[in-house]
Assembly symmetry: C2
Homo-oligomer: 713 residues x 2
Amino acid sequence: MIRGSSLQQRAAPSDAESVLMSASQETILQFGQLQSSVDVAFWAELGNLKLDKMRLSEDPQQITGAHYAKLPSILNELLLDSSGPLVDMTRCGVPGELRNVNTLERFKALQEQRGALLQEAAGQIWQGIYSGAAEADPSLLSRLLLISYADLKLFRFYYWFAFPAIKPPQPIMVRAVQPLQQALGMELSEGVAESCNEWLGTGGRPLFWLMSVSDDNSASSGKHVVLAYMDHSNLQSNPGLLLRNALLMAAVRWRVGHLDVACLRLRRGKVDATASLLLSVSLPAIPEGWGKEAAPAAIGWEPNARGKTGPRVADLGPTMDPRRLASAAVDLNLRLMRWRAAPALDTAKLAATKCLLLGAGTLGCAVARVLLGWGVRHVTFLDSGRVAFSNPVRQSLYEFADCLDGGKPKAAAAAAALQRIFPDVKSEGVQLCIPMPGHPLSPGEVKQAEEDVRQLEELIEAHDVIFLLMDTRESRWLPTLLGAAKNKLVINAALGFESFLVMRHGAGPDAEDAAASSTAQSGSKGWQRLGCYFCNDVVAPLDSTVDRTLEQQCTVARPGLAGIAGSLAVEMCCGVIQHPQGVRAPAACHDPDASSSSADSALPLGPVPHMVRQLGGGFAQHCLVGQAFKQCIACSGAVVTQYREKGWLFILEALQDPHALEDLTGLTELHSSAAALAMMYSDEDSEDEVERLGPDKTDSGEQGDVKDDWLEL
Amino acid sequence: MIRGSSLQQRAAPSDAESVLMSASQETILQFGQLQSSVDVAFWAELGNLKLDKMRLSEDPQQITGAHYAKLPSILNELLLDSSGPLVDMTRCGVPGELRNVNTLERFKALQEQRGALLQEAAGQIWQGIYSGAAEADPSLLSRLLLISYADLKLFRFYYWFAFPAIKPPQPIMVRAVQPLQQALGMELSEGVAESCNEWLGTGGRPLFWLMSVSDDNSASSGKHVVLAYMDHSNLQSNPGLLLRNALLMAAVRWRVGHLDVACLRLRRGKVDATASLLLSVSLPAIPEGWGKEAAPAAIGWEPNARGKTGPRVADLGPTMDPRRLASAAVDLNLRLMRWRAAPALDTAKLAATKCLLLGAGTLGCAVARVLLGWGVRHVTFLDSGRVAFSNPVRQSLYEFADCLDGGKPKAAAAAAALQRIFPDVKSEGVQLCIPMPGHPLSPGEVKQAEEDVRQLEELIEAHDVIFLLMDTRESRWLPTLLGAAKNKLVINAALGFESFLVMRHGAGPDAEDAAASSTAQSGSKGWQRLGCYFCNDVVAPLDSTVDRTLEQQCTVARPGLAGIAGSLAVEMCCGVIQHPQGVRAPAACHDPDASSSSADSALPLGPVPHMVRQLGGGFAQHCLVGQAFKQCIACSGAVVTQYREKGWLFILEALQDPHALEDLTGLTELHSSAAALAMMYSDEDSEDEVERLGPDKTDSGEQGDVKDDWLEL
């Protein structure tokens, strides 16, 4: 509204007085109602705001509603901010407040308080009117209130709108209403419409004065002043929402008994004299001190869809694309973790992590499922086998149907199962047999092995985390080496009958070199690289598959172990991904009961152990740490360097003669000296000697033995 | 063979000499070959013998092969014992030895030793011949050898038969061969056939002498002696297997140069003179000392299906009914456990155990899968919910398709998934909401609740193990009470964000009474009943579902925890089922590293803890023990007695007013005294006081608090 000095004076025809028509009988003025119609996008945005920013907060949020000239009675835009012009020629914005609460119970409590809530919002409008602030800023005259509870689990939104209107002491009465053209005559009304178009088109406010100015500009008392406003109502003789509190303001602030209002309406995007109305109203007298102590009573809660007093429910679940619904639902649990349990959790990082699972058996299936639970969306399986009849009861991605006709290839069947579970996952199955040291190749097999190694190199390069979930020790060698060379996060799991080992490999040897040079510069105690699966071994892997009895070939493990080991492997993986040092994250201290340091508590998922082991019966797990072994046949600098220099030829040599690895890393020499020692101290067990000369173990000395006892999955 | 004193003398026509026809040229005698044809039933039986009895043993097994008159060249019966007559009129049995080895490598090694193996078997035959034992027992003359490797994972059997024949120093030559009737004439041959029928029909041995006896019985030198035997060959002029070593025996033992043999053949089940042969052979002279030091050389390995030297493979996988194949394969892994890992494991007991899973969510799905792995075949799910879009990535029995159109009922969808995984499982889904204390019923709901309680009572009665896998504390009350009243094994699991509790409830209060009376009699230290989920609580459960924020309604738990907790729950369950004391099994000692007692090591799956708990981050689990609380609102004698006396009315009272339970068990009184204590020692935390007055805990005192922190699944 423009008033006083900012009043825009417009040329008006001298016969302006003649436009007012007397009503035979005054009637109560009624306004076009506003119906809320909330777009799905708003609920989606509210869901995101709630999950990511508001979390447990119930603080009020500033929002803006809007309705448009084309559908003036529908509030069909709702924004979670208050930017942009509130009202212009085509859009009528309504600022307001959203109160979104955490539970349905809280929402019910808000409903009980709805009178007070409405009065609070009305108080703000009244404040704008009473103080005169609304004269300069007409957006203060309209306001909305939205209370809601967002059940993001079911995509169901409970809500209730209010558009507060302050009740005047007496009703506002209509004296006359007629089309503007009819009221002002063709020529004058066209001039008014043109002036208004110019005013509004250059950004003028939507509530302003029109004044009739006589040509001679002398008789100020003869001036006819008309309140003009951009009227978005499309009812024949009823004005829109914005005018409601404006007329109260006229009665309160200007204390006029009568008022003429030009309700400017659009046709083809322009103010049109034939569509617009001239409305003449009688305003009530405002008693002295009315609304001084407290805002006058207000009304304004929107009836629900059945026309009753009550909230509405937007149940978006059934209308959403099921795939998107599933995708959103899966995210929900993860994002909810950030409310209380793990505020620093980076769910996007998990979603972007690409995981390569070597082995799609009992452990592979278990790992893939837990990865899905963590929101990981890229899972590639590698396996050379087919689904056997004994698999489905232990391997959670297969069904009976997968076993028929000789069995589907496991890797492809596992990938297809992931898609069935969660269509948005990017999952692939690669049928490939990992070349193994100690399984010599016939001349005819060399070419295929070279191709397999190349494909494995590419797969490891293309993924972030490599899970070793195979059933032999020797099949772990090549991926361990490639993981170290490419500095990938490698997670390793192996099962025994009632024992298991889950471990993460340390960073590659490059990380050690970098750490050593930085330590040399700083003089501080250096970071130490964690060991790999082979760091505790002093012999190269040989073919372990020959001569295995039936129960050694099969997964003779307590069925519960795979679920435990698979879950731990993924928890370890996610802990490292969320750790700021990533693959170089130090091992969690041994004692799980020790009070964690402040640095640990800052980690989104806490500190991550190096190895978790369960031994024998019982139900106890142990966390162990072992550092990288400088003579390791899989992850040491010597091996990685040879691989980088000679590539496939180096690997071929190791496949054909694993002892070449022992020569390369100096283990052969170690064996000789160990044998010599054993002879010198012949009353001691020579195997013990070998163990003592083995890698520097910070924990259990019998670990090397234990691992050799694994019946691997 | 009947010889000497036992020689049966039969009337023979005086013109017996005339039956021998001179052959124009002697040819080498050839025998009908025997082909092995092993029935699937034998391999199945061998598989069972291997899994259940032989296990890792490679000791030779006595077997019997047989061929029949109708298919004389096919060894089509193979039995794993040597009972029954070896040879009779219709059946020719061959005794022998099975050497089944544990690995394909061992089988290959056996093949390399096949010369020695054959010689060993031939040595036994030779022993029978050389010693004369075979004259009394002609079954010693034929023998079979079977080497095999049973790949029970793939239902593939590698095998090789040998039918050892000792090579004479020179070939046996045929002098003449003609139908018996032609050789002896109609009358005599019919008489011979009739006599043989009588002899064989009354159980006479299949190798015997026929002697021509002149009517006057005077000229013994004129006697014509014929070797008769039951010939199962159907070749026109070649005798069957049994004769081969018999003729060598004739040459070695009786040192005759010529021998006439009546090859008695059947027609319509009787020895028939026209079908039978009279075979005249020249036997080689046996050098002095031949075969004295060692058995002469033998031949006899059966060629494979392609006619080459080598073993055969019976690949039964593709021919078996897939459902039976799956069923057998699932059993395999379990039965293999008994070879080395858990020899005392009673897999049949596991298969017969009926499990009721209350809750088919994250934990319910995980538990069901591990139960399948253990061979449990009866699983009933109870759940009142439907599959939501967020479920499949964490609840391993559901897929995206289960979420469409509002979601399938969870219990039914879970049961259907188990069937898809393993068709032989008996699985059912019950859609039911467990009535809960603190969730008061409206008058209209009472009837349904009564019906629900009745159905729950029947379900618990009909199952052996009850898993409590729900998402509220109060929903666990009724099944805990019913489990205690019916003395069922109850396993309880609950998840927090990075914590979980898995426990088994102790036996019902009846067990305590029984133990108390037996203790009173014996005067020994009594058995103590383990606690239930509510034994650490000093307040009755109330409605915990109202006013839960979104992340409290959803499963905001680290995704790996359900796999760990679900697996532990099943391992605990199976440990108790295998424990001789069952639900009364004492808790495993706390220290998992303590050396187990000898009693413990006798348990098939080791001792079973009472509770396993993981707390906070880290990866460590703790085993705890807590005894039954005499004032427990769920499992105490007072509560169980009330339930038994008043039934539904007692439950209704508890549902409507949980504090009635506190009054009943004396907790109300406890609260008053606790409050009084708190006032007396006002400088101490009153909540601590309540804790101290709580149940007698042998472990961590803060447990009650911890459990209240659970965000339950």
